[in-house]
């Protein structure tokens, strides 16, 4: 068998919805290369753990965040992407609910922060590229899978869902049509609780019914929002 000395790492693009904006979780590197640069959380995979376990472990260690949705994004393996050794990074795309937000938490001396996606610092390695791909995946996926709910609290206002879509898709959405469409899917439960968000008429809380969604899925239903 060929001698091969390529390292395998995982990196995660973790999105959170905070202060009516899309945010990404970044860590400040405390070792070279790119010391003191901001980077995606991640690290080398251990000999006997699955790729997914590696991501979960690294996220826990470096940021203390627990994600609510995760899927593989893409693998990056250009020979020079890491100046030290050849490293192939399997990257993941993840979403967290606000309750799982961790303003700052780490066992290492690294800094951890949520960055508004509009105000990103320069990133280490090819992490900028990875992040852009993740953003596109999020925008796409939002239109054909109900993953937006993994960015909101369990109980949320319809207007929150609507704003989330507008901010992530970067376009205006008609309130009436959006509500009609989403409600027609029959995957939300309207709760009997109202919330007064500052001034204005109190709004109803809704909850995503995952069971219902999967049931409809099996029957051929397709989530689809343009």
């Amino acid at each position: 068998m060929i001698r091969q000395n390529i390292k395998v790492a995982v990196d995660a693009v973790v999105f959170g919805y905070k202060d009516k904006a899309l945010n990404v979780l970044l860590i400040k590197r405390d070792i070279a290369p790119f010391k003191d640069s901001w980077a995606l959380p991640g690290g080398l995979v251990l000999e006997n753990e699955s790729l997914e376990d590696a991501v979960v472990r690294e996220l826990k260690e470096e940021t203390n965040v627990t994600v609510d949705y995760m899927e593989q994004l893409y693998s990056f393996g250009a020979p020079k992407r890491d100046p030290r050794n050849r490293v192939v990074s399997v990257t993941y795309f993840a979403l967290v609910k606000p309750e799982h937000h961790t303003i700052k938490a780490d066992t290492d001396a690294n800094d951890v922060e949520w960055f508004n996606i509009q105000k990103l610092p320069e990133l280490a390695f090819d992490h900028q590229t990875i992040l852009e791909m993740a953003k596109k995946r999020l925008q796409n996926k939002l239109t054909y899978e109900p993953i937006g709910f993994d960015l909101l609290n369990d109980k949320f206002l319809f207007s929150d869902l609507e704003k989330l879509y507008m901010i992530i898709l970067e376009k205006q959405i008609d309130r009436r049509n959006f509500r009609k469409k989403i409600l027609s899917f029959n995957i939300l439960e309207e709760l009997d609780e109202k919330v007064s968000e500052g001034r204005g008429r109190p709004a109803n809380l809704f909850q995503f019914n995952k069971k219902q969604y999967f049931k409809h899925l099996k029957e051929g239903f397709l989530f689809d929002i343009k």
Copy 2:
């Protein structure tokens, strides 16, 4: 840095359209494990080549096939997927035109064959899983990107395109609606050549105009066939 001894491989699911059926390119392994089993073409990545280069090289070495379309599919890294060592495999999804079909060609003693997707042998490792994922990707992608043309000869009959869609999507398609839809995209050129396919009225040849397609893409056009 942590000691890590994980190997990185690439594997390719290469689809071809042959004898009015969807086919996959498989090789017969001539070394353990899974000696004499059929498997996806692939192998370890060399120290200084990109992942894509590795796929192209392995395909050339093992099958002599040149692909017309290729994209990354998914990475598989379960600790026990290879009984010898830990191997993370970055898999690729590829399409070849009939002209680039190679009935059998190899520098190794391996056997190489096209298999009708309906009549597959048992596959080595987790290659069955990989293949299923690739098939889903193909079915999906066919509906929103004009990749079907990478499975046909440069000049083709409309009925071929239609059959290809029916076979891959495993459903009936209305001839008139399909033709109307595709032609409305303005990405095909009708040639002045007719072909007599056995009996029946001779049919016109068409050609995919890639430039036209990219031009329309930029202007916001979306290829979309249900």
